[in-house]
């Protein structure tokens, strides 16, 4: 066999190996529970170099869409409950890191965030959270629980969270979940991933 022939053979073998590795990794990803390790390539951007940071728990839909998954992300450290809450919510409102799916409609921004002395937080969101919502009780429960849990899990001072839309008290996001009163943390749709780092 000519050197060129050997080269082709070697290249072929390498290609096959890569392909096999890809297939098994793919299978593993399809069958195993979602990888707990945090993929570095997407989701809310980590704070820039040199900025003090803190790890917060944010909530996204699992890749099968059946549950809410708590994911640990690095966000900017802020002084005080209210500034820290704003950082948490800004990160929560951005897209989800793969393979998770964001449960907050795209384009939703945080208009205001404040906490009362009674431990009730008010999260004022832009109208996209309602106008861009796909509807359905289940999708709506995921959105509401993700926002409420992101605040209560990370800020122990907050007991209950009321969602406002465009500065106003709201009935619901899309016709289902009652938003007229502050809501408590709800873990009924949460599926813990085994090894969150």
């Amino acid at each position: 066999m000519t050197p060129r022939g050997w080269l082709r053979l070697a290249l072929g073998a390498v290609l096959l190996a890569v392909l096999a590795w890809g297939v098994t990794r793919g299978l593993e990803r399809a069958l195993a529970p979602e990888p707990a390790a945090e993929p570095a390539d997407a989701g809310p951007a980590p704070p820039p170099e040199g900025v003090p940071r803190i790890t917060a728990t944010l909530y996204y839909a699992s890749s099968d869409g059946q549950a809410l998954v708590p994911v640990r992300r690095e966000i900017t450290l802020a002084e005080g409950v209210v500034p820290q809450g704003r950082e948490i919510l800004s990160a929560q409102l951005q897209g989800a890191p793969p393979p998770y799916i964001s449960v907050v409609p795209e384009g939703t921004t945080l208009r205001a965030f404040y906490v009362t002395e009674r431990g009730e937080a008010f999260v004022d969101l832009s109208p996209e959270v309602s106008t861009g919502h796909p509807g359905g009780t289940f999708a709506e429960l995921l959105t509401v629980n993700a926002i409420v849990n992101a605040v209560t899990t990370n800020l122990p001072a907050v007991e209950r969270v009321q969602i406002l839309i465009d500065g106003q008290e709201a009935d619901t996001l899309a016709g289902h979940v009652d938003l007229r009163r502050p809501l408590q943390q709800d873990d009924s749709l949460v599926r813990e991933e085994p090894e969150i780092q």
Partner: protein, 503 residues
């Protein structure tokens, strides 16, 4: 390492053929046709009742072919085709996808399909109507008269009172024969839903000796029974009254005394004086008007599906139960969530049912889910207040009247227990007819339920964000089976309410 193990498991799964070892069900299935009745063999395998395709081939003149290339089974009837999947719980029926509770499974050399295959897959392409009456174990083929027959003991007595209802109504012949009342119904077969036990002087209500009769067996202490049939709202009702043996008179001292009874000596209040537990049902088709609700990739809108199913449900409830049904909207218009509850509260409804279609951020999520209200802290306080703080107000004439104190916007608080029962029954009946979602029964703070001052639940009838479910939600067959399941649940919930009233 994990990758290798996964690959091995995959290989094992691929290589192992599903080998079914089923057990026969408790009661065989009966096929009812114009020609007569015959038993149909079925088998139960991991909770699914299955029927063999070669039995179907001979019963329904269909041809069955195994398509190894496509990984499915092709069933042909007069040029129309069903492709049943062997790995997915679904079949393609003349090009439309229908959901089944399980895929086709192989047992030795035979292929088995779930019983639902008959109404859902074969039904749409068959020349005659195929109607699976699961609780009564009947498979009705053709346009036959198979009314649903329900019986209940209204009062233990004595006198014991019972009612048998036949819906849709059919002519009835009554015969009182010693210790039995025989009800003969002019029908091809009966879809029986009879109570398991008796009550008072009625020992049992059971299927009669003829396929179209029902026998009421009386106790030895029963006197001469009276029975009368009436018809109203397309439902025939047979009212039966059984007195106890007349007490011995002084002129007949030899007659032994009747055995002592535990029944109260004074007769119970006359049944007709009390209000039926279910008089008005309010059905709430979700969304409407500008609020289209969730939308599918194919353009289907939630507001239309909810209205379609609500109308079907109204038709069958009114025809079979003779109960008033009110829809919160009967056209395509927007209506607020408070108005929906207000329709039910002002109409003094006994039951509120909101119909919706679900959506998910992932297109794979599918199935039916039932919701009832979960109270938050304020709701719990309102519930306790309703239990303990009834206020007695003086009224004209010196008497007092008790008024419940409950916030109008938390009216559901005092019905949470009954609503949880209602939702549980809905879930059980719906899973007989449809594939359920990942969380079939849930408790959630749902806005439309909070103000309803009666037992209330919300049914999400499927995920419109799933392509197959979107098609299913549009189909007549699926809508009809949802309506049937909800109707069956309402019947059972009525029994629950009746049990609660007569302790």
């Amino acid at each position: 390492m994990r990758a290798t193990a996964t690959t091995v498991i995959i290989l094992l799964l691929v290589l192992s053929q599903p080998q079914a070892q089923g057990t026969p069900p408790g009661t065989p299935l009966t096929l009812v046709t114009r020609e007569g009745r015959r038993p149909v063999p079925t088998t139960v395998l991991s909770g699914q009742e299955l029927i063999a395709l070669d039995d179907l081939a001979s019963l329904f003149q269909v041809s069955v072919r195994e398509d190894t290339l496509a990984g499915g089974l092709t069933i042909t009837y007069r040029g129309r085709t069903i492709v049943a999947s062997t790995d997915q719980p679904m079949a393609s029926v003349a090009g439309r996808v229908v959901a089944l509770p399980a895929p086709a499974v192989r047992a030795g050399r035979r292929w088995l399909v779930p019983l639902e295959f008959l109404p859902r897959a074969l039904g749409p392409i068959y020349d005659q109507r195929i109607d699976l009456r699961r609780p009564a174990r009947l498979l009705v083929v053709g346009d036959l008269r198979v009314p649903r027959v329900t019986a209940r003991i209204d009062a233990a007595g004595p006198p014991t009172r019972a009612t048998i209802e036949i819906a849709p109504a059919a002519p009835v012949a009554l015969a009182v024969d010693g210790g039995r009342v025989i009800v003969r119904i002019d029908a091809d077969a009966l879809d029986l839903a009879l109570p398991t036990g008796g009550g008072g002087l009625i020992e049992q209500v059971r299927a009669g000796d003829q396929p179209n009769s029902v026998t009421v067996v009386l106790s030895g202490r029963a006197g001469p029974a009276r029975a009368a049939a009436t018809e109203a709202d397309a439902v025939a009702r047979v009212a039966i009254e059984v007195p106890s043996i007349a007490p011995p008179t002084a002129a007949a001292p030899a007659t032994p005394l009747p055995p002592p009874t535990s029944e109260p000596a004074s007769p119970l209040p006359v049944l007709t004086a009390s209000r039926p537990v279910l008089q008005t049902i309010v059905i709430d088709p979700g969304h409407g008007g500008e609020d289209v609700g969730a939308r599918g990739a194919g353009g289907t809108e939630e507001k239309q599906i909810t209205l379609d199913v609500a109308r079907r449900l109204r038709t069958i409830i009114e025809a079979r139960l003779g109960v008033r049904v009110v829809l919160t909207r009967d056209e395509d218009r927007a209506i607020s969530l408070d108005e929906r509850a207000a329709v039910a509260n002002n109409g003094k409804a006994d039951l509120f049912l909101s119909l919706h279609v679900n959506a998910s951020v992932a297109p794979t999520v599918a199935g039916v889910e039932v919701f009832h209200l979960r109270l938050d802290r304020e709701g719990e306080d309102a519930r306790r207040a309703a239990e303990t703080q009834a206020v007695s107000l003086p009224v004209l004439g010196g008497a007092t009247r008790t008024i419940d104190v409950v916030r109008w916007d938390l009216a559901q608080a005092r019905h949470v227990k009954a609503s949880a029962v209602l939702a549980g029954i809905l879930e059980e009946e719906l899973q007989e007819q449809a594939a359920m979602g990942p969380r079939p029964l849930q408790e959630a703070p749902l806005r439309v339920l909070t103000g309803a001052n009666m037992p209330a639940a919300l049914v999400e009838m499927g995920y419109i964000t799933n392509r197959a479910q979107e098609n299913l939600l549009r189909s007549d067959t699926y809508q009809a089976s949802l309506a049937q399941a909800i109707y069956d649940a309402i019947l059972r919930f009525r029994e629950y309410l009746e049990e609660g009233r007569t302790p």
